[in-house]
């Protein structure tokens, strides 16, 4: 009874959020250059990495079109590897001058003490660093020997910071699944307070590599691991917002699944394209900052993101959880969009 009441209240909340569609979270894909050439890339597996970096002034002009904004608005600077650019600190200062907050998502390779200091001085308040295993498995996925040593240094610096809201993300795959307890111990020893785990969707390079995609049983094993660590309560461990996980929802996250892409999350991509999360299929692009007013596009575009009834097809057509899930994470709709690439709940049901 209590759970039903809570679920109804949550659905009403989600409808109100969708109607208001306040932009709270803006990705800026400032570069597609990277220090690594990973076996899998969460940004976009198809992109031409020779695209020139977006000039800071172009991004700031788009940002300045926002005449109103949510109180907790934040810019997430991403890439490629954002720290490959030397003007991230200038970007940060410009963002803070406008009363906004900012953070970065980094592979940690260029994150040394000097950079840590200069980023904090420029008002950086949030940071995510990707760690995909202990030495051997991290270096394997990152496709570069020695990359673990550098990310280890970055984690040490970030976890010691009194200023940063910092978390580590791990892309769980077949190689590092059995290593999760050891990674947990490693992070705990480094005094990391928050750890987010996600899986890899079968697009781009990941599609051809069976070691990257978890089987249904392995997926369940990962969720059980997360649930167990959450019960221990020593570190904030959670499953990312990548998909709806049915009965596991209350066990692996703080809040029910709610894909906010295009509802509260927008992005300005490397070529000026306006979209939601950077890993969403490019066919959903809503405009371009070089032709359109960013704020107007945010206010009046994004229809497929804000009315997801079109996702009620394929495996979603007859799903009893559709009203709660609404087609899973938006980044799961690729290609001809006849079916979500991954149904997380389905993976769990297929085991039984």
């Amino acid at each position: 009874m209590f759970a039903i009441f809570r679920q109804l209240a949550f659905r009403k909340f989600r409808r109100a959020e969708t109607h208001l569609h306040e932009l709270n979270y803006l990705f800026w894909e400032c570069t597609t250059r990277c220090t690594l050439n990973c076996i899998h890339c969460g940004s976009d597996c198809h992109r031409d990495s020779t695209h020139p970096d977006m000039p800071l002034g172009d991004f700031i002009r788009a940002l300045d079109t926002l005449d109103t904004r949510a109180k907790n608005f934040i810019v997430a600077i991403t890439g490629g590897e954002p720290l490959i650019r030397e003007d991230i600190e200038d970007a940060g200062m410009e963002i803070r001058k406008r009363g906004m907050r900012w953070g970065i998502v980094s592979n940690g390779q260029l994150y040394d003490r000097k950079r840590h200091n200069s980023l904090l001085n420029s008002g950086m308040g949030a940071l995510t660093i990707s760690l995909d295993g202990l030495k051997e498995s991290h270096d394997w996925l990152r496709n570069k020997p020695g990359s673990f040593a550098k990310v280890d240094r970055a984690i040490e610096l970030a976890a010691d910071s009194k200023r940063l809201n910092f978390d580590v993300v791990t892309c769980v795959n077949r190689r590092n699944l059995s290593e999760l307890p050891s990674i947990y111990n490693y992070l705990q020893a480094k005094r990391v307070k928050a750890w987010r785990l996600f899986t890899i969707i079968p697009i781009g390079r990941a599609k051809e590599n069976p070691e990257l995609i978890l089987s249904d049983n392995e997926f369940k094993e990962m969720l059980d691991f997360i649930a167990e660590q959450r019960n221990r309560g020593q570190m904030d461990v959670k499953f990312s917002c990548e998909g709806y996980v049915g009965a596991y929802e209350t066990k692996v996250r703080d809040t029910p699944f709610f894909c906010r892409a295009g509802i509260n999350i927008g992005s300005i991509l490397i070529d000026g394209s306006i979209s939601a999360c950077p890993n969403i299929d490019r066919s959903f692009i809503q405009g371009n900052i070089y032709k359109d007013n960013f704020h107007q596009v945010w206010n009046s575009g994004f229809k497929p993101f804000r009315d997801r009834a079109w996702t009620r097809k394929g495996s979603c057509a007859t799903c009893k959880d559709y009203t709660t899930c609404q087609g899973n994470g938006f980044h799961n709709w690729h290609g001809d969009k006849s079916n979500p690439l991954v149904c997380h709940k389905g993976k769990l049901e297929d085991i039984n």
């Binding site: 009441f5 949550f10 909340f13 990705f27 900012w102 953070g103 809201n165 987010r196």
Partner: protein, 121 residues
């Protein structure tokens, strides 16, 4: 306005206050910490000329800057109701040797501008 009220009420009823502080799948956490933007200039008390290479450090040791050729500095640091700044001459003595000093900011606002003078040793 009505929608905002509904959102707050039903957000609370679903017992998920954290709903308002979310994180995108591939993004970083949000930043809710109060901080202060401190900027200013360091001058010689004898010559009134700007001092280059002076370290200005907050209570949080990870936040420090070195003054530029105009003696200017600017940085963000976490807010505190009593924020200590240390101003130190850490570069070689060849360009003068100045006595370090501390200053305490009581209940600073979001932005603070400081003119600091250092005495020659």
């Amino acid at each position: 306005m009505r929608r905002r009220k509904i959102r707050s009420i039903v957000g609370g009823l679903s017992f998920a206050s954290a709903l308002f502080i979310f994180q995108a799948c591939y993004g970083m956490p949000q930043d809710m910490l109060d901080d202060v933007f401190i900027q200013g200039k360091v001058l010689s008390s004898t010559t009134n000329l700007p001092l280059y290479g002076i370290k200005v450090e907050s209570d949080y040791e990870e936040n420090y800057v070195i003054t530029n050729s105009q003696g200017e500095f600017a940085f963000y640091t976490p807010w505190s109701d009593s924020l200590k700044l240390s101003i130190m001459d850490t570069d070689p003595e060849s360009d003068g040797n100045y006595i370090s000093k501390d200053t305490i900011l009581i209940n600073p606002g979001q932005e603070v501008f400081l003119n600091i003078t250092l005495e020659e040793n």
